[in-house]
Amino acid sequence: MNYKQIILSLLVLTAISCKEQNKYLYRIEGRQISINDSLQSNTEIEAFIKPFREHIEKDLDSVLAFAVDTYSKSDGYLNTAIGNFMADAVYEQANPVFKSRTGKDIDLVILNHGGIRSIISKGNITSRTAFQLMPFENSLVVVALKRSQIDSLINFLVQNKTAHPISKLKLSVDENFNIVSATIKGNILDTNKTYYVATNDYLFNGGNNMTFFKPNEGLYNLDYKIRNVLIDYFKKVDTINPVIDDRFIQIK
């Protein structure tokens, strides 16, 4: 093979090789494979997860407080012990945060009855209890509202006839659901005052048809998850013993 022949054969090979691009899609096969106990677990992955799992299990089951009784959102008419507990816990935990940031106090708290996702059982309260009560990631916000919007909030509660959790707002209605009295922190409503209402981001955005948060005079995002409010509150107190009280009642 002389020099020219080598070059020629290289060129031919180049031509053949470059053509051989293998790029024509001619067949597709699709299926799905079930992940089940017939597959062996990868031990490295399993070992990596283990300390995380153990920490969570231990933490979820650690006792934070004690419940004197079993509390359910279905026990009560216009206010419930469990709802009162949640709204009061929100006030107690949120107000110092809000005050330190703004110098102002929260005037009232409103949550939604549907947002109480489980009961609190008599006996030990753990982090798991807080996860069951509030499985969602919703956070606290404080909304500045004019008197007219507070009226809408109160009208919503009256027309809804539901025990939405409230704190610092006291409301009584007659047998026809006409408002008999409405006070905030013991005072009658002031036409010129701006009220600071704590709620969660879901309700602020119109969840549960609570449309009275808009328009508003300002919004403060506390970056404080409702679940963490509950956990922090449980850690702070030894025992919870909430009751159905007179914060929203019908006078017959």
Partner: protein, 305 residues
């Protein structure tokens, strides 16, 4: 292709390699037929542990450690494998509530995920919550129709990525669902949602014409189908309105399909839409076979599902 054809082609390929071995091995690096395997999950929702034996619906199913073994064995069989996720990695078990997605991303990195798109629940701890976990992910987040330029995620999410496996160029792009009304605006902040069809048309033009990809995959969190909301864009409507996509890997609707759906695209060509339910209960596996001879594709690509 039957086994005999395959063996014959394989030996031709081998012959070419040995000839090329004289000095041009760079051009002849492969056998006659190439296989690209695409593995995929969607809506795993922090389901790291398998469901327990007592679970009412999914007893003993799922589990990332099992998924890892399966993926490992598939990769051993075919190293030219991509592993993709179609979003909603976050939210569903206390692992997310406690660690904010750190464990999910670390484990997906250990499983060598290549890319994921962003689902609506991946915003559950806000843009900042997702951003904070990004250092734990050794894979790329792809989204072409979320404009993050006024958020922390700016430059951290790419519209598409091109992977090369065995000289096959695979273009993968991400498409997300409209966030308004689905996710709290506090969480997604100034993320702008762009029209999925228009963006997909841009993506396929870039990936097919400019980048000359051999395979185009859309990682979508749009949802498989909306029977009662015909105006709402889904994977099936996206598939029929666009061209040049070979596979849409879907999520969001937690749709369990008996098998991948064959859909006719805008050019009346067959392509696949797939989704594998949720919670890591299933792994999708789509194999693409390429050949050097065009005559095999004369009658169109055969799809076996």
């Amino acid at each position: 292709m039957n086994r005999r054809d395959f063996v014959q082609q394989a030996s031709i390929g081998t012959a070419l390699i040995s000839l090329g071995g004289i000095g041009l091995s760079s051009f002849t690096s492969s056998t006659a037929s190439k296989k690209i395997t695409i593995l995929h999950t969607n809506d795993v929702h922090s389901h790291i542990d398998p469901f327990g034996p007592e679970d009412g619906r999914n007893a003993n199913k799922g589990g990332i450690a099992r998924r890892a073994s399966l993926i490992e064995s598939i990769r051993q069989e075919n190293p030219n494998t991509l592993l993709l996720d179609a979003g909603d990695i976050f939210q569903g078990t206390p692992y997310f509530n406690y660690y904010g997605g750190e464990l999910e991303f670390k484990l997906m990195s250990m499983l060598k995920y290549d890319a994921a798109t962003i689902g609506n629940h991946d915003f559950d701890n806000g843009i900042s919550g997702l951003y904070a976990q990004l250092p734990h992910a050794k894979f790329d987040f792809l989204s072409a129709n979320y404009d993050f330029s006024n958020t922390d995620l700016n430059t951290h999410v790419k519209p598409y990525k091109i992977f090369e496996k065995d000289h096959i160029k695979i273009g993968v792009f991400g498409i997300g669902i409209e966030l308004k009304g689905l996710v709290d605006p506090f969480l997604y902040k100034e993320t702008k949602y762009l029209n999925p069809i228009e963006i997909t048309q841009d993506m396929t033009r870039i990936l097919k014409q400019e980048e000359q990809c051999d395979l185009i995959i859309c990682l979508s969190h749009l949802g498989y189908q909306y029977k009662n909301e015909t105006n709402k864009i889904s994977d099936l409507t996206l598939a029929t309105a666009t061209k040049d996509i070979d596979l849409i890997i879907g999520g969001h609707t937690h749709t369990f399909l008996r098998k991948p759906t064959i859909v006719k695209n805008f050019e009346d060509k067959n392509m696949l839409v797939n989704q594998v339910g949720c919670y890591g209960i299933n792994l999708g596996k789509i194999d693409f076979y390429f050949d050097s001879e065009k005559n095999k594709t004369a009658n169109g690509t055969s799809i076996i599902v």
